[in-house]
């Protein structure tokens, strides 16, 4: 502040001192958009952000350390708690990593069943992220409206594995049981009703003047910077790079499916929103294709829901009670006494917010020697200060929600 603007009401600073002209503001951890854990220290000039320093919070739960003692199956519940908005993708990504290490061959039908579940999770994750972008820009309606349809997805999970959010779904080699008729009925219902809902959701936002003004041109990033920051998933595609793990390193027979990889242009909040919306349409398309392929299986093949891998796939419960062999396998698998292949493997899946990688080193012991999770949002959240520099305070909030940051995943 200059000398001539001062009047007698101002506090007189000692001679020669430098007055700080920016304001420091803690955005979070109590701000609703920060999930209660992220603290963003913003340096503000008026309402404009001069610099931001983001932190990831202190909910680290030592997953990587705990995993060094647990047999493979006991690690699945840990993966649930990474990106809990799409837990089945994490579960299956982990199981596929184990299968890759152990050399288990998966039947096609299991692959397709997994794809249905993974794409449903992708829809539920994108649905939450996009509707929360709406909430943070002041439009609550969309969020309340679509929540009901996430519920339909969760009911499908419930029929398959019994739980909803942290699913712990599946086994090494497939699923714990075949999909029952209720799953297919609920899936039919979802596939019939959901497109109209998504259309209406898009009607609420896509051409909404206020929403466009709030999101266009804010939080943008160039393709080059996005790659350098290790962006993956919808955030990278919004910046114009068509990298998708499902296409580049297909897993679970994604190569059998025909789908588009939507890309944006500017990498701003609006593009991220639009890419996610389009991905939901593609996911519906993939589910429909998988559904059709599953119906084509005939005879015994139509009942396959797990690989033939008795060493790693838990035997059926009724067999455990009545057959000696099954009891032995059950015991060995639960106690982690089955043979582990020593080796080093990296496997990644297209998680809902980016490339979710598992780096597993096994020395042949019952638990992994080392397990590292490549957690996509931990890596791309680093760009937050660059994304918000020079923008308005209110844009910082939308940028945070449109990045799809999941606290559980970031802190592992």
């Amino acid at each position: 502040m200059n000398e001539h603007q001062m009047n007698e009401h101002h506090i007189k600073l000692p001679e020669g001192s430098i007055e700080k002209t920016t304001t420091t503001l803690n955005l979070g951890p109590t701000h609703p958009a920060t999930h209660g854990v992220f603290q963003n220290i913003l340096e503000l000039d008026g309402e404009r952000i001069v610099s931001a320093e983001q932190t990831v919070g202190y909910i680290h739960r030592a997953f990587e350390k705990i995993a060094e003692r647990r047999p493979l199956y006991q690690i699945t519940p840990l993966t649930d708690r990474l990106n809990y908005c799409s837990a089945p993708i994490n579960n299956m990504g982990w199981h596929m990593t184990c299968e890759k290490l152990l050399g288990v061959n998966i039947p096609k039908r299991v692959d397709y069943l997994r794809i249905i579940i993974m794409e449903l999770s992708r829809i539920s994750d994108h649905l939450i992220c996009n509707s929360v972008v709406g909430v943070d820009s002041g439009a609550y309606t969309g969020f309340l409206y679509v929540m009901q349809y996430r519920e339909l997805i969760y009911e499908i999970y419930e029929e398959i594995c019994g739980s909803r959010l942290t699913t712990n779904m599946g086994r090494i080699g497939g699923f714990e049981r075949n999909f029952n008729s209720a799953v297919w009925e609920k899936l039919d219902k979802f596939l019939a009703e959901y497109p109209a809902v998504l259309t209406e959701f898009q009607n609420l936002f896509n051409r909404n003047r206020i929403f466009m003004e709030r999101t266009m041109g804010t939080g943008g990033i160039s393709a080059e910077r996005a790659l350098n920051y290790g962006f993956t998933g919808p955030n990278l595609r919004a910046a114009g790079v068509d990298y998708d793990v499902r296409v580049h390193s297909p897993y679970s027979s994604y190569e059998d499916f025909d789908f588009k990889v939507p890309v944006g242009r500017t990498g701003d909040n609006y593009d991220r929103f639009m890419v996610r919306n389009e991905e939901m349409w593609q996911s519906i398309d993939i589910i429909n294709q998988a559904y059709k392929k599953i119906q084509e299986f005939k005879g015994a093949e139509a009942e396959v829901y797990h690989a033939d891998a008795p060493e790693y796939y838990l035997p059926a419960k009724e067999d455990v009670y009545t057959k000696m062999e099954a009891l032995i396998w059950h015991f060995k698998i639960v106690m982690g006494e089955t043979e582990m292949t020593p080796g080093e493997v990296y496997h990644s899946v297209e998680g809902a917010n980016g490339e979710l990688g598992f780096y597993l080193i096994s020395d042949g012991g019952r638990a992994p020697y080392r397990l590292h999770f490549r957690r996509p949002c931990f890596i791309y959240y680093q760009a937050y200060s660059e994304l918000t520099k020079g923008s308005m305070l209110s844009d910082a909030v939308i940028t945070m929600s449109s990045l799809n940051l999941i606290a559980g995943e970031m802190d592992a």
């Binding site: 350390k65 003692r69 790659l227 350098n228 780096y359 080392r370 490549r374 791309y380 959240y381």
Partner: protein, 167 residues
């Protein structure tokens, strides 16, 4: 899609000779190691070379091998060439007494937090890192928890107060 593991290996050996070693391809991913002081040169070469173009850092982490004297800590880089769609794994080994590794933050902005995480859990000192402090654990912590000398709590211990810890 011309780039193969063999080509990458040839290019690396041609450039670095004896310095790149232990080539393996576990589960199809080319894995090799280099002396710790060469890590930036190798990364830079992989980044800049017109043919190799490994410009995406997928993952950076460390592994502790207490039974290998002199090379206890491995820093592992997973790199991805998005154009030819091929991945490689690059390792450098360092001692646990003086785990100094040059930082890759100048090359990859994404390395910043991944190196902080590695420092946090293994104590790898990334020389030249702009802000090397703990990221997931509390600042006051005075050990590096993912090192193998820190065992997990004994699951059978009985000296804990059930009322307090609920077990």
């Amino acid at each position: 899609m011309g780039l193969t593991n063999e080509t990458i290996k040839e290019r690396l050996v041609q450039k670095f000779g004896e310095n790149v070693s232990n080539f393996e391809t576990p589960y199809g991913m080319l894995t090799f190691e280099a002396p710790v002081q060469e890590n930036l040169k190798v990364l830079q070469f992989l980044f800049d070379d017109q043919e190799l173009r490994f410009q995406f850092l997928t993952d950076l982490t460390a592994v502790h091998y207490p039974n290998q004297p002199g090379r206890e800590i491995a820093v592992v880089y997973h790199l991805h060439n998005l154009i030819d769609n091929i991945r490689i794994r690059f390792k450098v080994f360092t001692t646990v007494e003086k785990p100094d590794v040059f930082t890759a933050t100048k090359l990859f902005s994404s390395a910043n937090w991944m190196e902080r995480e590695t420092f946090d859990f293994y104590g790898v000192n990334f020389v030249g890192h702009p802000n090397l402090k703990r990221i997931l654990n509390v600042d006051e912590m005075d050990y590096f928890p993912l090192r193998k000398e820190y065992p997990l709590e004994d699951q059978t211990r009985i000296d804990k107060d059930d009322e307090m810890f609920g077990r």
